[in-house]
Symmetry: C2
Subunit: 336 residues, 2 copies
C-alpha cells in the first residue's frame, strides 16, 4: 500500500446512482490525495465517467453485478448476490486493495457486508450507526441511531467505547464525556436498560458522566450519548421533521418583511447550522473491523466528496486500530 | 351540585405559589362561570387574596397544611402529609365539593393523590400524562410523557383508548386515529413492546393506523400517539430544548436585519405557534376516576386560568364518564 489512500465507492448505491457517486468520485480525485475505485456496472460507469475529463485522475472502475436494495433482507440478499456492488466494494477493503468503502445504498446491506466480510471488533456483538443529530451540538456522537432496536446493557457500553474512540481519534476530543440518554439526571432515573448499563459504565474506566436528558442533546452536555436504536431512530426522524417544518414556518413569517434574497440567506444560514446529519457525508459503521462509511440515499456529489474526506481521516488517524486496542480492554473491565 | 362548576386549585403548588395560583383564580372567577376553591395555607392565601377586589367573586379558601415537593417520593409523602394541599384539594373532588382539581406542583404527588383518592378507571393499571408536544400538530395527544418508564403492551393499549376518548370528547375529533410510535411504518418494524402492542390494538376496535415515526409527530399523521414514558419524556425535553435553541439562533440571525420590534414580533409568533405543551394550561392525569389537571411548575396566572377552562371542558363533556364507559370495553376486547 502506497502513501496515497484508496477508497472504494459503491457506485450503484443511493437515489442518484450512478451519476452522483461518479461525479463525487471525480471531485474527490481532483483533490489529488485519494485514489478512487468505482464499483458497479462496468458499461454504465464508463458511460458516466466519459462526461468528465478524467485522464489525469486516479479513478478506476471495478465491475460488479447487481445491487442490494433497501427493500431486501440484507443477510439473504448477501447470499443471493455475491457479486453485488457493495459486496465487491467491501471485499476490496478485506483484500487490501482499498483502505475504505463508501456506500449511500441500503444501510442494512452495507452493514451486513461489513460484518460478514470485514468481521466485528472483539467485544462488540453487532455494529451500530451514529453521529450528530442536533445542529447546536455538531461534535456530539449519538449512537445507536436505528440498527439495534432492542438492546442489552452490554451493547450500550459497546456504543459508548466506540463513540469515545471516534470522538477522541477523529474529532480530537480529549477523553470524551459519555452520557446515557435517560429521563432524569439521577442514577435512579431511567428504564431497566439504562440502569443496568449505568452500572457497567461505572466500571468501564471511560469518562462516564451519568444520565443525560433530551434537552442535553441540544446543549451538548456529553460528547458521546448512548441509547438503543429505537430511541435514536425516533429522535433522528423527529429532528429532521422539526427542521423541515420550522424552515417552512420561518419562510412564511419572514416573507414580505424583507427582500427575498435576505430571507433566502437567513434560511440557508439556519439550515446549514442545523442540518448536521450529513455534514460529514456519512458516518462509519461502528464496530466492524475495517472502514465502511454509510450515508443517506439522497447523497449529492459533494456528499460523496465529504464522505471520501471522512474515510481518509479514518485511515490516517488509525481509527480501526485504536478501536481494536481499546474496545476489548474496556469490555473486559466492565464484565469483571 | 349547581350548574356552576367548582374547581379546587392547589394554591401551594408551582414555582410561583401562592401568588400565581391566587391571581389565576381571580382571573378565572372574573369570567363568571366557575367557582374556585383555593387550597393552601389559610393566612398566606388570605393575605394574597387581599391584593384583589374579590367581594363579588366566587372564591373561597380551604385550609391545608404543608405541600408535597418535587424532591419527595410521592407515595411516602402522601402518607406523611395527609393534610398537604394536593391531598386536601383532591379530596374535595372525591367528596363532591369540587368537580375538578388543578395543580402545578409535584406531578408525582398530584398523580399519586389522584390514584389513591379518586381511584383508577377499570382496565387501567397506572395513570399517564400526555398532550401535544410539537407545534405543527397542536391537536395530537402523545402519551405517556414520563410517568410510565418501562411499559407492558397492555399499558400502551390503555394509553391509546384514554387518548382516543380525550381526542373525541374534548378535542371533537371524530374517531381519532391512533398510532404506535416506532421506527418504521411496517408492522414488522419496532421493538418487542411495540410489536406486541400492535397485536393488541388490532383487536381493540379502535381506529388504529399502525406505526408512526418520529417525523409523523410533526405531520400530525395520528391524532393519538402512544409510546412508553421513557421515549415520551426524552422527546418532550428534546423538543423543548430545540425550541429554546432555535429561538436564540433566529434572534441572532435576524438582529440588525430589521427593526427590533419586528424581530420581537416574529419570535413571539413562532414561539406561540410552537410552544404547545402549555397551550391548555396543563393536561388531565389520564386514567384516574376524576378530573385532576396537572401542569408545569413555571405556570403563570394565565396558565392557571387556561387550566380552569380545561377543567371546565372536561366536566362539561363528561370526559370521565366516557372513559369509564369505553376503557373497560376496549381493554376486554383486546384481551380476548
Amino acid at each position: 500500500m502506497s502513501d496515497q489512500i484508496t477508497v472504494a465507492i459503491d457506485a450503484m448505491g443511493g437515489d442518484n446512482a450512478p451519476s452522483a457517486p461518479v461525479e463525487g468520485a471525480v471531485l474527490a480525485a481532483q483533490n489529488g490525495q485519494t485514489r478512487i475505485l468505482l464499483v458497479g456496472d462496468q458499461e454504465r460507469l464508463e458511460t458516466e465517467l466519459e462526461k468528465y475529463d478524467t485522464k489525469e485522475l486516479p479513478i478506476s472502475i471495478i465491475g460488479s453485478e447487481g445491487k442490494i436494495d433497501d427493500s431486501e433482507a440484507p443477510a439473504l440478499a448477501l447470499r443471493q448476490k455475491p457479486r453485488a456492488s457493495i459486496v465487491v466494494a467491501t471485499g476490496l477493503v478485506k483484500a487490501g486493495s482499498a483502505d475504505a468503502v463508501i456506500s449511500m445504498g441500503s444501510t442494512g446491506g452495507t452493514m451486513a457486508a461489513a460484518v460478514v466480510i470485514l468481521g466485528i471488533i472483539k467485544g462488540i456483538e453487532r455494529p451500530a450507526i451514529g453521529g450528530p443529530i442536533v445542529g447546536a451540538a455538531p461534535h456530539q456522537t449519538i449512537l445507536d441511531l436505528g440498527s439495534n432496536i432492542d438492546c442489552k446493557p452490554s451493547q450500550l457500553l459497546g456504543f459508548g467505547v466506540l463513540g469515545s474512540v471516534f470522538g477522541n481519534v477523529l474529532l480530537k476530543i480529549d477523553n470524551p464525556k459519555i452520557g446515557i440518554l435517560s429521563v432524569g439526571s439521577e442514577q435512579s432515573k431511567g428504564n431497566a436498560l439504562t440502569k443496568e448499563a449505568s452500572a457497567l459504565f461505572s466500571k468501564s474506566g471511560l469518562n462516564f458522566i451519568g444520565n443525560v436528558e433530551g434537552n442535553d442533546l441540544v446543549k451538548g452536555t456529553a460528547d458521546v450519548v448512548v441509547c438503543d436504536g429505537f430511541v435514536g431512530n425516533v429522535l433522528l426522524k423527529l429532528v429532521e421533521g422539526i427542521g423541515t417544518e420550522l424552515g417552512l414556518q420561518l419562510q412564511s413569517a419572514l416573507s414580505g418583511k424583507m427582500p427575498p434574497e435576505v430571507v433566502e440567506g437567513i434560511l440557508h444560514e439556519l439550515y446549514s447550522k442545523n442540518n448536521v446529519v450529513d455534514s460529514r457525508g456519512g458516518g462509519p459503521v461502528f464496530g466492524v473491523n475495517g472502514i465502511s462509511i454509510v450515508g443517506h440515499g439522497s447523497a449529492s456529489p459533494t456528499t460523496f466528496e465529504r464522505a471520501v474526506d471522512l474515510a481518509k481521516m479514518c485511515v490516517e488517524t488509525r481509527l480501526i486500530e485504536e478501536m481494536n486496542e481499546q474496545v476489548p480492554r474496556v469490555m473486559a473491565l466492565a464484565s469483571e
